[in-house]
């Protein structure tokens, strides 16, 4: 009797996450179609704003956030040939790191553009969700800037 058994096994739970002031302020900004970052100890404007400074471990000020543009430049990208449950698109799409104007770091999200058109350095802008609710998916994706 060498045949063995197997069966599908799913784990599913809607986690309820309290955001704290920094993440909350960033998400509140998204709901208002504004992107906020914070200046770290090295002088960089970091987006999304981390709660703590990577270099000094200091608490970063959630009440001194800096608004950056909703348009910026692609600093790296990859093609996702096999979209998975929960990702921004169901068809193959590109992931991008985008340095928004006014920011010094990259924001990770999806880009809606033909694969052939995508280049590092290309200008892109945020396509907002129709009804932002205060969630990272309020940014529906990036799209090429006109």
């Amino acid at each position: 009797m060498t045949e063995v058994l197997s069966a599908p096994h799913s784990m599913e739970f809607p986690y309820t996450r309290s955001t704290g002031p920094m993440v909350g302020a960033f998400l509140t900004g998204l709901r208002d179609r504004r992107v906020l970052g914070v200046r770290d100890s090295a002088g960089r404007v970091v987006v999304p704003p981390p709660e703590y400074d990577a270099g000094t471990a200091a608490v970063l000020p959630a009440d001194e956030l800096i608004e950056v543009a909703s348009e910026g430049v692609v600093t790296s990208w990859s093609w996702n040939p096999k979209p998975r449950l929960g990702q921004p698109f169901e068809q193959p799409f590109a992931w991008v790191l985008v340095q928004l104007d006014g920011a010094d770091t990259g924001l990770l999200h999806a880009l809606d553009a033909p694969r052939d058109a995508i280049r590092t350095g290309m200008r892109v802008r945020i396509r907002w969700a129709e009804e932002p609710v205060g969630f990272i998916k309020d940014i529906a994706c990036f799209e090429p800037a006109p």
Binding site: V46, P48, S76, G86, Q99, R115
Partner: protein
């Protein structure tokens, strides 16, 4: 620091294993690692393991795995929710106390029950990145692009893959091996552009076991022990957009602290994606012309998640003990796009 050495190493064949559970995979490997030492569970001073509950979707996976050891009468034991390389680090620390002379380290993991690339996205910050579910392959590909555009060529990636496949021919535990030239590899279509399928690791289930011993005990148990001359680990910030993805600052720092000094006869680098091997080698100052890199084929040939880092240390040590060199560097990684890295320098002399 007290001299501690790897005196024995064993690993399972790595493949999708749809018949055995983790305990069943681990048990024969434990036996194989213990056999040459003549030790039993009761002779071991400290036991430490590494694994992750999320791989197979069961809380407390390590609890049933402990049963494989036969921890009776009760043993001194600990567990890290990390790759087994960090369990080895904890065991090395424990051996420094001087009251015990041997330690057993094991790691196990089945990547095949779930979609491991998607499971790993649960490592990301759960507020602004995790909810997008970026999978591990997509993130590695973002890193690969940053690396390539920092002045590297895709031929470099193909060279890494070709060497891995070629080296893996001599490794009975590897999943992927063969004699493929670089041109053939570059003819294959892009998959997660800029990565091709062969730049990504296979899905592997497996277990690995290392026996450590200190001082005279190591010399007693092993003809040519692989002495740990330095071991250190460091972590970078997680957010991919906040680090220079074309380099690995934490690997560089860990390498300095571990005393790599750019010298090694061989190196086993835990690089599940081809470009990561080049990033890690560069951070450690290792040169392919002077150092045999991933003689086992590395993680591109088999990548049991939570195990593959420990395998690197085991493989490096095994080769030194077999006389393939006198000095080796082993490396393990954890987290998205090489976030956390461990470096271990080993030496063996006759």
């Amino acid at each position: 620091m007290r001299d501690v050495a790897v005196v024995s190493f064993a690993q399972s064949a790595t493949r999708r294993d749809q018949t055995r559970n983790e305990v069943e995979i681990l048990l024969p490997v434990l036996r194989e690692a213990m056999a040459p030492t003549g030790l039993t569970t009761h002779d071991i001073g400290f036991t430490c393991s590494g694994s992750s509950d999320y791989l197979a979707g069961q809380a407390f996976a390590f609890v049933s795995a402990l049963d494989a050891v036969g921890p009776w009468p009760p043993i001194q034991e600990s567990h890290v929710e990390m790759d087994g390389a960090w369990a080895l680090y904890e065991a090395w620390v424990r051996l420094q106390h001087g009251d015990i002379d041997t330690a057993l380290v094991y790691a196990f993991g089945k990547s095949s029950p779930g979609d491991v690339a998607r499971v790993l996205s649960l490592q990301l910050d759960p507020y602004v990145t995790g909810p997008l579910w970026p999978d591990a392959i997509s993130l590695a590909a973002l890193q690969a692009r940053a690396f390539l555009e920092a002045g590297h060529d895709e031929k470099d990636l193909a060279r890494v893959v070709a060497r891995s496949r070629r080296n893996a021919v001599g490794n009975p535990h590897a999943q992927l091996s063969g004699d493929i030239d670089e041109a053939t590899l570059l003819d294959e279509p892009l998959y997660a552009d800029p990565l091709r399928m062969h730049d990504c690791p296979p899905i592997s289930d497996g277990a690995a076991v290392v026996v450590l011993a200190a001082g005279d005990k190591a010399r007693e148990l092993c003809e040519r022990p692989a002495w740990i001359r330095g071991i250190d680990h460091r972590i970078d910030v997680q957010a991919l957009g906040s680090r220079d993805l074309s380099q690995s600052a934490s690997t560089r720092l860990a390498g300095e602290k571990a005393g790599v000094g750019g010298r090694a006869d061989l190196a086993e680098l835990h690089a599940p994606f081809s470009h990561q091997e080049l990033i890690v080698a560069e951070a450690l100052g290792l040169d392919e012309t002077a150092t045999s890199i991933n003689p086992s084929g590395g993680a591109l040939a088999s990548n049991p998640v939570m195990v593959a880092g420990l395998v690197r240390i085991g493989e490096a040590a095994r080769r030194l003990s077999a006389g393939e060199g006198e000095r080796a560097v082993a490396h393990a990684t954890s987290g998205p796009a090489l976030q956390q890295n461990l470096v271990c320098v080993l030496e063996a002399t006759s």
